[in-house]
């Protein structure tokens, strides 16, 4: 087995945070990590002079390479190193094209610069940002040796997925005096000697590429001393103060994206905690509330600017002025007799519907995903013709509207000025169509709000045996409305009008702390209940269970799941029936480490690997040791060669020792009999 790291930076570039290269640090790094080969791959630059110094100083094989901004991703290109000057001049051509972080070359440039790409190791970022995708990836495929991934979890995914290229996991480290921790971010190749050709050959075969030297991809290295964990389910046991939590923290540090569930994190402690829990559930579903209430929001937005009272006042003024003007007919003068004196303005219609229609047609024309289905029924050219005609109509209308606006300005200005010169009554302007429309809008709004106040279950979602039920119901008092308004404002006055939605809306708008955009939330309450499998509302303990299950399913988005003593929060039945099954399932796709004293977890979960932390005195000096092995192994070993019996360890950790276990077993038998 040979251990390699072919992604290492030694020159700070526009794509790096500043750092100062240190040759001694490089030396220490390859020695500590026991590497057999490395490659120097700086961003869009190759420095032959520095490379020669590194190569002559390191005791292992060093390949020259470069990390290139290719299209929108990164590509490692590694040379066999036989013609350093030739490689230098090729890389200089890349440097000339990529001068800033956002510059890049394309595949054609790559071929033009490097010629036959088969002469190199080409390793694009595959499951790692910034990833090479699409056309560029397809062009690269015939020449690709492997795909670089970001974590051991992604490495194992890629090994199992036959459609993915051979994965490699590298450090991507900046070599400087204070080195980052990159344990485990290396790749092992099953070959006997290190050469450019041997590496290329091994990478063609997924079975020759692993994350650990001895156990293929079932074990991952975590610490510098060679300590491994399983890529599946690990149980970490040990007495009090033996360094379990410390070990868990160290594992956490070596992973880029860990999910850590601390001890007692899930336990409900008091009433405030219960409120937090409720708002947690509520917040995680606020998207649902928004979606559910979006229809109401549209209606509220429509009626929020309708002022029925003002409309009435206007109508009354119009009628008054009309009657008065009729009575004064005989006293008309030059001013009041002009046509514009009582002229009404042009009504301006909103071209919203036409606009939306154009956008819809455009959506159909531009859709790529369903193009073949669309073309089966509609002629795209005809649709484009339709779009053009609709756009033309919109333009004409907009042009008309602008003219009307100018004319309205004239009418308005002339009327105001004419009025100044005459005692005659001017007939007030009113848009009766708008008046009628406003009335109808309010009627529709009141009907909808009244209907929505009827209590109903609006959504039910099953989550691992629990059910989250969302109900809509009327607000029962000012405190509830206040809570829905972010705990601001006083609502007792407004609520007196709660049965008259429009009047209630006007009252709400008088309250300073009510944002107009959010006022739609204050008509009906959406309330959540978490129900257990029997349909009853959950208890405090069940709440913790719900939380744990949520956290565990969330873990899918991380690279490792670490849980410290889940038994501190739960009863055994729940641990056995639910937690164990989920932990086991999740460990199929990512490493899981569970710290436990509990036999229900420890002995029943079906762990792939046991870690045992022990504080030992070596010549009076305390020493924290970690023993490990498979559950089926007779013994567990530490990295410095100490051995413990697996059976004794399990008995001591989970059952308080063999004697206690035997005594318990006998007592259970007596109870049973």
């Amino acid at each position: 087995m040979k251990k390699i790291d072919l992604h290492i930076h030694t020159v700070p570039t526009q794509s790096d945070a500043p750092f100062v290269f240190s040759l001694p640090a490089f030396h220490d790094y390859v020695t500590a990590a026991k590497l057999d080969a490395v490659a120097v791959t700086n961003h869009d630059v190759f420095d032959a002079e520095q490379f020669r110094i590194i190569k002559n100083s390191l005791p292992i094989v060093v390949f020259p390479g470069i990390e290139i901004n290719l299209a929108s991703g990164h590509l490692l290109l590694i040379s066999n190193g036989l013609d350093l000057d030739g490689f230098q001049s090729k890389c200089d051509r890349v440097s000339a094209k990529v001068r800033t972080k956002t510059d890049s070359i394309n595949f054609e440039d790559l071929e033009a610069i490097y010629g036959d790409l088969n002469n190199y190791l080409l390793i694009p970022h595959a499951d790692k940002n910034p990833e090479i995708t699409g056309t560029t990836l397809r062009q690269l495929q015939p020449f690709m040796s492997a795909g670089e991934v970001a974590s051991s979890k992604k490495f194992i995914y890629a090994i199992k997925d036959k459609d993915k290229p051979t994965p490699v996991l590298f450090s991507d480290i900046r070599i400087q005096a204070k080195l980052a921790k990159v344990m485990g971010r290396h790749t092992y190749l099953d070959c006997t000697e290190i050469s450019f050709e041997a590496i290329k050959f091994c990478l063609q075969d997924k079975s020759k590429v692993t994350l650990s030297a001895a156990d293929g991809n079932r074990l991952l290295p975590v610490f510098e001393d060679g300590q491994m964990i399983s890529s599946g389910l690990n149980i970490l046991m040990g007495e009090r103060s033996s360094g379990k939590t410390h070990t868990l923290d160290r594992i956490k540090e070596t992973f880029e994206n860990p999910k850590y569930i601390a001890q007692f994190q899930l336990v409900q402690q008091d009433a405030a905690d219960e409120r937090n829990f409720k708002s947690e559930v509520q917040n995680s579903r606020s998207i649902f509330v928004d979606a559910y209430l979006s229809g109401l929001k549209t209606i509220v937005d429509e009626v929020i600017n309708v002022d029925l009272h003002a409309n009435e006042v206007k109508l009354e003024a119009y009628l008054k002025s009309l009657l008065k003007s009729a009575a004064e007919a005989e006293f008309q003068d030059n001013y009041s007799k002009t046509a514009l004196f009582n002229e009404t303005e042009f009504a301006l219609a909103d071209p919203k519907a036409l606009n939306e229609l154009i956008v819809s047609v455009r959506t159909i024309i531009d859709n790529v995903e369903y193009r073949s289905t669309i073309e089966k029924f509609v002629d795209l050219q005809a649709l484009q013709g339709l779009a053009c005609e609709l756009i033309q109509q919109l333009r004409d209308r907009s042009y008309e509207q602008r003219k009307k606006r100018v004319i309205n300005e004239i009418i308005n200005d002339v009327k105001v000025e004419l009025r100044r010169h005459t005692a005659a009554t001017q007939i007030d302007d009113i848009d009766l169509y708008q008046y009628y429309l406003d009335q109808k809008k309010i009627t529709a709004f009141e009907t909808v709000v009244t209907l929505m106040k009827n209590e109903a279950t609006v959504s039910e979602q099953g989550i691992q045996g629990f059910r989250v039920e969302a109900k809509r119901l009327p607000y029962s008092g000012p405190a509830e409305v206040k809570a829905a308004n972010g705990n601001k404002g006083s609502f007792s006055e407004a609520l007196k009008q709660y049965d008259r939605p429009y009047a209630y809306l006007r009252e709400l708008l008088k309250i300073d702390s009510v944002a107009r955009a959010d006022v739609y939330r204050l008509f009906v309450k959406i309330s959540y209940r978490i129900l257990n499998r029997h349909g009853a509302e959950v208890s405090g303990g069940e709440r913790s269970e719900f939380r744990l299950l949520q956290h565990i399913s969330d873990a899918q988005n991380y690279d490792i799941l670490l849980i410290d003593e889940p038994e501190s929060s739960f009863d055994n039945l729940f641990l056995k029936s639910d937690v164990n099954a989920i932990l086991k399932a999740i460990s199929e796709s990512m490493p899981v480490v569970v710290v436990t004293h509990n036999s229900t977890v420890g002995a029943s979960v079906g762990a792939d690997y046991i870690l045992y932390a022990k504080k030992e005195l070596d010549d009076g000096v305390p020493h924290y040791r970690l023993y490990s092995g498979r559950p089926s192994d007779k013994t567990l070993t530490s990295t410095d060669g100490n051995i413990l019996e697996t059976h004794a360890v399990v008995m001591n950790s989970l059952e308080a020792g063999i004697e206690a276990y035997e005594a318990r077993r006998k007592r259970y038998e007596i109870i049973k009999n």
Partner: protein
């Protein structure tokens, strides 16, 4: 006082004649400005935006009728402004969905 011409060779939309203001109807005849309503206004605004037009400038001395003064002054000011922004009005409407319009028209 002799009324001033506003522009060159276009049709005359507003004129001052015999101490009264007049506007042009679509059939080419003229009506006194105190009879102008919003439909008439639409016609002369459309004509102003469509091409070369002219109108006599506002001249308080030339207009005897006070009501005519109020109306004439207002309209002529607006039309002058419109005439100078003719292209802008056109461009603004044509900017709507321009990218789509150009692309689809080519293909269609």
């Amino acid at each position: 006082m002799k009324p001033m011409k506003q522009e060159g060779n276009g049709m005359k939309l507003l004129k001052i004649d015999r101490s009264n203001g007049h506007f042009r109807l679509s059939d080419g005849s003229y009506l006194e400005i105190d009879k102008i309503n919003k439909e008439h206004l639409m016609d002369i605004v459309t004509a102003t935006l469509a091409g070369e037009v002219e109108f006599d400038s506002y001249d308080e001395g030339a207009l005897q009728n006070q009501a005519h003064r109020v109306i004439y002054k207002n309209i002529v000011a607006k039309l002058q402004d419109l005439a100078s922004r003719r292209q802008e009005y056109k461009d603004e409407s044509e900017a709507l969905f321009q990218k789509e319009y150009d692309r689809y028209r080519q293909n269609g």
